[in-house]
């Protein structure tokens, strides 16, 4: 065998190997998108991370983090963020499940309900915050109705505190959680529940032992995505909350640094802290999720 044919053979087995592992010219199609991500997402993130270790005042490389964790006001923004984001995501998911369970079978007007629910999502947090500001104000419609119905005697204070932010995040987060849960629930084969009922399980047991375990992985995702939404509460925190008090969340802290002192190094440090906090929760949720069954929810053969 001449060297030439040998090398051709070598290159053809190599090509074979590459092809077997799915590497061929088709992969070039990913390049533009990947490049865009590398340049505008990965690089800036890495750059921001490095920048956060080079404080504006040329102090030690941990200076930004020292400042952040040394200042009780700054430090507390982590707590403030969690105090809003965790309960809001939990409430949204817990509300979404029973409603989605009720609507899983075709309900009259289902599409209309879904359409109305999608409105707050597409309006976005800014508009919801602006509307709530007037709606929840002491002489807004909400307090007026409650007082007219003699449920309360003095207007409820729901602006410039925790509650305003909470409510705005429920209004924009619940529909999202609901529609997502609904799409997960409708992916579960209804035969599963029928089988359970033949085996003697009542409605509550069917939910507890069949629907819920099959839904759990989807609920984990729903929770995480709601958590992400709630984690960047910055418009509602600024407009409805008390941004220098208990609504001084991480996002507000970061944007304040930028708008007040243009200190991008410090702001990057805060956003890195935000990302770490958020990823911790997501990883935790996914760790719990992996203990559940995560395969197909259609059941049976096929």
């Amino acid at each position: 065998m001449s060297a030439k044919t040998q090398s051709r053979e070598f290159s053809s087995t190599r090509r074979f190997w590459l092809k077997e592992h799915g590497i061929d010219s088709t992969l070039l199609l990913i390049v533009p998108a990947l490049l865009a991500m590398l340049v505008f997402f990965v690089y800036p993130t890495v750059y921001g991370t490095i920048l956060s270790f080079h404080p504006a005042n040329k102090a030690g490389f941990l200076e930004n983090y020292k400042t952040f964790f040394g200042d009780p006001y700054m430090r507390k923004s982590i707590f403030n963020t969690f105090r809003i984001a965790l309960p809001v995501s939990l409430v949204n998911v817990c509300l979404a499940v029973p409603v989605a369970v009720k609507m899983r079978h075709r309900v009259k007007g289902q599409r209309a309900i879904n359409t109305i629910l999608i409105i707050p999502i597409s309006l976005g947090t800014v508009l919801i915050a602006e509307g709530l500001y007037a709606y929840l104000s002491p002489n807004g419609w909400f307090n007026r109705t409650l007082m007219a119905a003699h449920i309360i005697h003095a207007p409820l204070q729901m602006l410039h505190n925790f509650w305003g932010v909470m409510i705005s995040l429920i209004i924009s987060g619940f529909p999202f959680a609901f529609l997502l849960t609904l799409s997960y629930i409708s992916g579960i084969n209804p035969k599963m529940e029928e089988a359970a009922s033949i085996l003697g399980a009542g409605p509550i047991q069917r939910f507890r032992f069949v629907t819920l375990p099959l839904l759990a992985p989807g609920l984990a995702i729903t929770f995480c995505l709601n958590f992400v939404l709630a984690f960047s509460v910055f418009p509602s925190a600024n407009l409805l909350g008390n941004p220098s008090g208990d609504s001084h969340v991480l996002a507000v802290a970061a944007t304040d640094v930028i708008s007040q002192s243009y200190d991008y190094s410090m702001a990057s440090a805060i956003s890195l802290i935000t990302a770490v906090c958020e990823i911790t929760v997501v990883v935790l949720v996914f760790a719990i999720r992996s203990r559940f069954y995560t395969g197909s929810t259609t059941g049976g053969k096929g």
Binding site: T26, I118, A134, I171
Partner: protein
């Protein structure tokens, strides 16, 4: 007793029972409560935009349209609409052009390192925009693109491209690859396969992806807020500034501005809902989960 007489109430009775169970009441009560408040929130904005003065009472003291004029001129709504359209249009177009080929490759090939590539596309969606938005803004300002239209478009592309990919990948996956093989055996080359076989099959997916990105870009606040300047402000950001700096202009003008914003999003939403179902608008993330398993 064993007569053949038919008791038609059997089915009716069970139905009746289901709809009157206490848990159903609770669920429907909660849904209706939610809707009432939603209508209240939106209604407050709309009503106040038409009112002359509204300090106390259920409704404003009088009605006027003049604040729409004020808002239109003072906030330069026409200019904002133009910018918003330009940004959204460019983002949708580029995201589709860049995202579709990538989605195709990801749907059809399994290669070493695919998980890392997927992670790269997932993170911009799984992270709060503010976290990568700040470093991104820093970077864009460093490129001297801060405050420009191009900078805003770039910032919006970061979540938009992954969106297109995550919507389209499962969509392409469910197109049987044997169709392509069949076309190849019939003598079609790659280019012909793409245009004659794939393109017609992908169109519904492309449409859904484009609309999703459109709805999202118009409502996306954080990233635009961080990089926009006076000439590149979109409607949402302008609305935020208007609300945040309230006191400068009458409250009703801000409401009128909000109504302008609302009308434009609702218009896009109505158009979108003609082509995709409401659940589809959020459930693209389901695919995210399947990718992770």
């Amino acid at each position: 007793m064993a007569s053949l007489a038919t008791p038609p109430e059997v089915q009716v009775k069970t139905k009746w029972k289901i709809s009157k169970s206490p848990s159903s009441w609770l669920v429907w009560g909660a849904v209706i409560f939610f809707f009432i408040n939603l209508v209240g929130v939106i209604g407050t904005v709309v009503v106040s935009s038409f009112g002359t003065e509204w300090f106390d009472g259920w409704l404003p003291a009088g009605w006027t349209l003049s604040f729409y004029q004020t808002a239109w001129h003072d906030y330069q709504v026409a200019e904002l609409l133009k910018v918003t359209l330009k940004v959204a249009g460019a983002v949708v177009l580029i995201a589709i052009l860049v995202g579709t080929p990538a989605a195709y490759a990801l749907a059809r090939r399994d290669f070493p390192g695919k998980r890392i590539v997927m992670l790269c596309f997932l993170l911009p969606i799984m992270l709060p925009p503010i976290t990568f938005g700040i470093p991104l803004a820093t970077f864009i300002y460093k490129l001297n693109l801060g405050g420009t239209l191009l900078g805003v478009i770039i910032a919006n592309l970061v979540p938009a491209i992954p969106f297109v990919i995550l919507v389209l990948t499962p969509f392409i996956e469910q197109i049987d690859p044997r169709i392509e093989s069949a076309a190849r055996i019939c003598g079609a080359n790659t280019w012909q396969i793409f245009w004659r076989i794939l393109a017609p099959l992908i169109v519904p997916g492309l449409l859904a992806a484009a609309l999703l990105v459109l709805v999202q870009t118009v409502a996306l606040f954080e990233l635009t807020y961080l990089v926009s300047g006076p000439t590149s402000t979109t409607l949402v950001v302008a609305l935020y500034y208007a609300v945040f700096a309230s006191g400068i202009r009458p409250y009703q003008a801000i409401s009128a501005m909000a109504v302008f914003y609302m009308l434009s999003t609702l218009f896009i939403l109505i158009v979108a809902l003609r082509f995709v179902s409401p659940t589809q608008l959020v459930s693209r993330v389901r695919n995210t989960s399947e990718e992770k398993n």
